[in-house]
Symmetry: C2
Subunit: 325 residues, 2 copies
DNA sequence: AATGTTTGGTTAAACGTTTAACCGCCGTAG
DNA sequence: CTACGGCGGTTAAACGTTTAACCAAACATT
C-alpha cells in the first residue's frame, strides 16, 4: 500500500502538504492541490487509518455488542447501527456475546484495546463496568448512569394488559423475560399495574429470550387453564406457538397469545402474532447519533431516550366477548 | 489510558523490557518479570493495538461483509465467524451492504483503510475487485480466483429434484434465486440435471432472496397449475408460503413447497419446511480458519472447500403417490 | 588466565499520520 | 523604502508499539 510519502514524492511536495490537501487543514494553491490529487490517483493512495488513529487518538471505529445475533430481534438493530455508523464515516466492530456475560466483558475489553471511539451496547449484565476508556450508549435494556435509548417497555406492558381486558380475557398466564433485565421487569410491571383488578394472573414463568422453552413452562400450558398467554417477546411467543401446536392446543381458538417487539417474523408466522411494536431501526440510528454527540461533548449530562410503542393487532389473540354473547 | 512508558517507570525498567515480558519475545529474569507484571496491574495497563498495528503491520482485525443482516440466513453465519475470530484473537469489522453492490465496494474500501488483515465476504457482486490489499475468502457464493467455502449447491438441486420425483410430483415450478449469483445458478443446474425426463418444469421465475415476492411470481401461483414449487431459499419459500396462504391455497394439500438452507425458521413455520440443509456455522468457522491460513502463508495455492448438503424432510411437501394409489 | 558464549537488559529506529512551529515571499500600508 | 501581515509551503515532533542492534556482566571452555 502506498503512503503519504509516495504521494509526496510523486507530486514533488512535502508530505505535510499532501496531508493538508487531503484534510483541508490549510490553504493550498490550486496548482499544487491539483498535482497532489493527481498523484493520489496515480499511486492509488488510501489513507492509513491506523497511523491516523495513533496520531489523533480517534479511531473512527465504533463498537457494537449484542447478546446473540441468532435472536431475530438483534439483526435489524445491528443493521441500522452499522449503516448509520458507516454513513457517518465510522466502521463498526461487532461483538456477539453468545448470551454469556463473561464474553460480554471480554468483548468490552477487546474493544478498549482496539481503541474504539465509543460503543453501543445491548447488555446482558446488569451494570456497566467502571473505568471504561470510551463512552457507551445502552440500547433496549435500561441501565443506570449511562446514556440510553429504549422503548417504553412499561407502556408496552400496559398496552398488552388493556388489550387483554378489552378482548374480554380474565385468566392469563405470563411468560416473563429474564427478570435480571430491566426491560423484562418493566414490561411485567406495566402489565401488572394495568391488570390490577381486571385480570387474574394465574401463573408467571420466567424464561430466556430464546426459541427453546424450558420444560417447566411447557407444563404450565396444560396444567392451569388460562385463556391468554402473554409472552416476554415475539421469539418466546413463537416458541410457545410451536409448543402449543405440538401439544395439540390451537391458537387462538383454545388459547390466545400475545408477543412483544414486532420482529419481522411476527407477521410471517401463522397465526400472525398480535404484539407491540418498538421502532427498532429508529432506535438503532438514534443510538449512534447519541453516541457521537457524547463523543463530541464528553461532559454533557447523561440522558435516556424512550420511544413510544404501539399495539399491532393481528390474529393470535381472540376476543372472548363475541363468542360469549 | 496508561502506556508502556507508565508501566516501565512503575517497574523501574525500560519499555523494551516490558514489551518483552508481555510478548515473551525474549528471556527475562523472574524477578523483573514479576515486577513488570505487578506494574501492569498497578497502572491498569492495556495494550494499545493501534500502535502495535502500525508497527507490526498486523491489525488483528478481520472484516466481514454480508449482503443483508436482515435476511435470517446471515446472522447464524455472522455469529459463527465472529465467535471463531474472537477466539483466535481477532476482532471483527462488520459491513452490511444492504443488498447494494455499490455499498459492498465502498465497504471493501473502508476495510482496506482500516488495515484489516483479511476479509470474509459473502458477495453480491460477481467478481472480486483487483488489487485488494488483503486476502479474502468468499463464502456461500462461488467466485473465481479466490479462496472459498461453499455448500454443494449443485448437489442440493439434485437432492431436491430426486425428492420431488420420489414423492411422485411431475409438474413443478421453480422460484429461482438471482441468476447473477453462482449459488443460485448451481442450484438450478443441479435441479435441471436431475429433473431431466422425470420432472416437467412448467415455469421458472427469478426472485430476490427476500421476504417480498415480486408480483409476477405471485401471478404464477394461480395461472399455471403445478403440484410442487421449489424455491431458491427458505426465506423465499416462507414468502411463498405466506402468499399462498393469502391466496387461499393450502400447503401441502393443494401445492407442495420445498426450501433451501434450513435456516432455524424452516422448522418453526407451519407447515414446517422440507428443505436442504447446509452446515452454516461450520462453514463460517472454516472460513475464518481458511482466511488465517492464507494470511500466514500468502503464497499457498487458492482452494475452494465445498460442504455436503443434506435433505431434511418435514411437512411442506406431500407425496402424490399415496393419494393416487 | 584469556577467550568465547550466553544471559538479561537497554537504546533507538521505525511504522504513517497530523499538526504546531517555522520560514521565505509577495503585496500592501505607512 | 521599510515594515508587516497573510499566504503557501516545509520541518520536525509526537502518538505507543516492536524489534534489531548493542552492551555489560556472568559464565563456560581451553
Amino acid at each position: 500500500m502506498s503512503t503519504l510519502k509516495d504521494v509526496a514524492r510523486q507530486a514533488g511536495v512535502s508530505i505535510a502538504t499532501v496531508s493538508h490537501v487531503l484534510n483541508n487543514s490549510k490553504a493550498v494553491s490550486p496548482g499544487v492541490r491539483r498535482r497532489v490529487l493527481a498523484a493520489v490517483k496515480a499511486v492509488d493512495y488510501r489513507r492509513n487509518r491506523v497511523a491516523r488513529s495513533l496520531r489523533t487518538g480517534q479511531s473512527y471505529t465504533l463498537g457494537l455488542i449484542v447478546p446473540d445475533l441468532t435472536n431475530p430481534f438483534f439483526p435489524e438493530l445491528a443493521q441500522a447501527v452499522e449503516n448509520r455508523a458507516r454513513a457517518l464515516g465510522y466502521a463498526l466492530l461487532l461483538i456477539d456475546a453468545s448470551s454469556n456475560p463473561q464474553t460480554e466483558l471480554a468483548g468490552l475489553q477487546l474493544l478498549a484495546e482496539h481503541g474504539v471511539d465509543g460503543v453501543i451496547w445491548i447488555p446482558i449484565s446488569d451494570q456497566l463496568p467502571d473505568d471504561l476508556p470510551f463512552p457507551v450508549v445502552v440500547v433496549d435494556r435500561p441501565l443506570a448512569n449511562v446514556d440510553g435509548v429504549y422503548a417504553d417497555h412499561h407502556q408496552g406492558g400496559v398496552l398488552l394488559a388493556q388489550y387483554a381486558h378489552k378482548l374480554g380475557h380474565r385468566r392469563v398466564g405470563l411468560l416473563l423475560g429474564p427478570q435480571s433485565l430491566a426491560s423484562a421487569r418493566l414490561r411485567r410491571e406495566g402489565f401488572w399495574q394495568a391488570a390490577n383488578g381486571k385480570l387474574e394472573i394465574v401463573w408467571e414463568q420466567e424464561v430466556p429470550f430464546s426459541l427453546h422453552l424450558p420444560t417447566p413452562a411447557l407444563e404450565l400450558f396444560s396444567s392451569q387453564a388460562v385463556s391468554l398467554i402473554v409472552s416476554a417477546s415475539d421469539v418466546v411467543a413463537i416458541a410457545a406457538l410451536r409448543a402449543l401446536d405440538e401439544a395439540g392446543i390451537s391458537v387462538p381458538e383454545e388459547v390466545s397469545l400475545l408477543g412483544f417487539d414486532d420482529i419481522p417474523w411476527a407477521s410471517l408466522v401463522r397465526p400472525a402474532l398480535s404484539t407491540v411494536r418498538q421502532p427498532l431501526a429508529t432506535m438503532g440510528e438514534r443510538a449512534v447519533a447519541k453516541l457521537l454527540e457524547r463523543i463530541q461533548n464528553p461532559e454533557q449530562v447523561i440522558s435516556q431516550e424512550v420511544f413510544e410503542v404501539e399495539l399491532v393487532e393481528r390474529h393470535s389473540a381472540h376476543s372472548l366477548k363475541r363468542s360469549r354473547s
